[in-house]
């Protein structure tokens, strides 16, 4: 029975992720594509005089041939954002399944909102602060391996630190009270993350000198907006669906066996 509850949550998480992905795609198409096109225009302008540089015009032309820009900016963009939404919706539903009833006295809906907020912060925002999104044509292709490794390591570190902060906060709650325990755990998370930011290698080769700052700002703001919309919509939609599935109904003595699910382990 618990298994079917988890399965039901998973299906709803992926559905909510799909819906959130549709909203995120709309934002990405409207506010994300203009700076992407602008960056590609900058690349082509820079590559024209130095076509012999290797990675410039020749590579750009190959890219144009493989998948055309109109496809990349519509179907391609939708594929990426929707797969991302569904996959992370499923993972968030699993995180919700672990968190439900374990992070405090929160309803399923509130737990869903907290899960979405934590996912946005840990999977996107914290890694973004150290290794922010970069528009096309900005990075040095020779460092892609190193930048990819650092980025995924940063996500892993951020998620692990976040989980540790939640566990420590729960341990501190009986002594400090919920409010102060939450503040203490959050402060600990920020302090350890700040130390990690200082000691992890910088990523300054990701943006070439001379790239227009306004365009970079516009692109990064769009990236934050896409993720914020994705997780806000996910939190709201999944909250409604999860609330319907697992909300405790008013207990009537003797008939509540089917909805009673205390942890044995």
């Amino acid at each position: 029975m618990h298994g079917s509850t988890v399965r039901g949550l998973l299906v709803r998480g992926m559905l909510a992720g799909l819906i959130a992905g549709l909203f995120a795609f709309a934002v990405a198409y409207v506010v994300g594509e203009p700076p992407v096109d602008g960056s590609i225009a900058v690349e082509e302008a820079q590559a024209a005089p130095e076509a012999h540089a290797g990675h410039g015009a020749a590579a750009a032309e190959e890219e144009e041939e493989a998948v055309s820009r109109p496809v990349q900016s519509t179907v391609g963009l939708a594929t990426g954002v929707l797969v991302y939404g569904v996959a992370l919706g499923g993972i968030a539903a699993l995180a919700f399944s672990f968190a439900l009833g374990r992070v405090g006295r929160f309803s399923p809906r509130a737990t869903a909102a907290l899960t979405a907020g934590a996912a946005f912060t840990l999977v996107y925002l914290v890694p973004f602060l150290k290794y922010p999104a970069t528009p096309p044509a900005v990075g040095n292709p020779d460092t892609i391996g190193r930048r990819t490794t650092l980025f995924f390591l940063m996500i892993l570190l951020s998620v692990l630190l976040g989980i540790a902060a939640v566990i420590i906060g729960r341990r501190l709650a009986p002594r400090l009270g919920n409010w102060n325990a939450t503040l203490a755990a959050s402060a600990g998370f920020i302090a350890v993350t700040a130390v990690a930011f200082v000691f992890l290698p910088a990523n300054d080769d990701a943006v070439k000198a001379g790239f227009p700052a306004a365009l970079l700002w516009e692109f990064r703001l769009a990236s934050v907006a896409i993720q914020a919309v994705l997780w806000a919509v996910f939190g709201i939609v999944f909250g409604v669906l999860a609330q319907r599935l697992v909300a405790p109904r008013p207990a009537t003595a003797g008939t509540s066996a089917e909805q009673a699910v205390p942890a044995v382990g």
Binding site: R7, G32, E33, T79, S107, F128, A133, T134, P248, V264
Partner: protein, 75 residues
């Protein structure tokens, strides 16, 4: 176990927090779907960038805009 479950539910007012789902019920789903989801994220976020499962650049080019805008290092 069923009796203990019923009595535990009856003794606590169910309007507060919902009871946790047992870890052993969540874990198999977490491993199975978690793995599938991570593979899907790999193809959106990193395939044909730093590492390649398939030769060429079609996957990379197809999800190119999404990869950039979602925050992954692309090229």
């Amino acid at each position: 176990m069923a009796e203990a479950v019923v009595s535990a539910a009856a003794s606590t007012p169910s309007l507060s927090a919902p009871a946790p789902l047992p870890v052993r019920a969540v874990l198999p789903w977490a491993l199975f779907v978690g793995l599938l989801a991570l593979i899907a994220l790999y193809f959106v976020g990193a395939e044909q960038g730093a590492t390649s499962v398939f030769a060429g650049a079609t996957v990379h080019e197809w999800v190119h805009d999404g990869r950039h805008l979602l925050g992954f290092p692309c090229h």
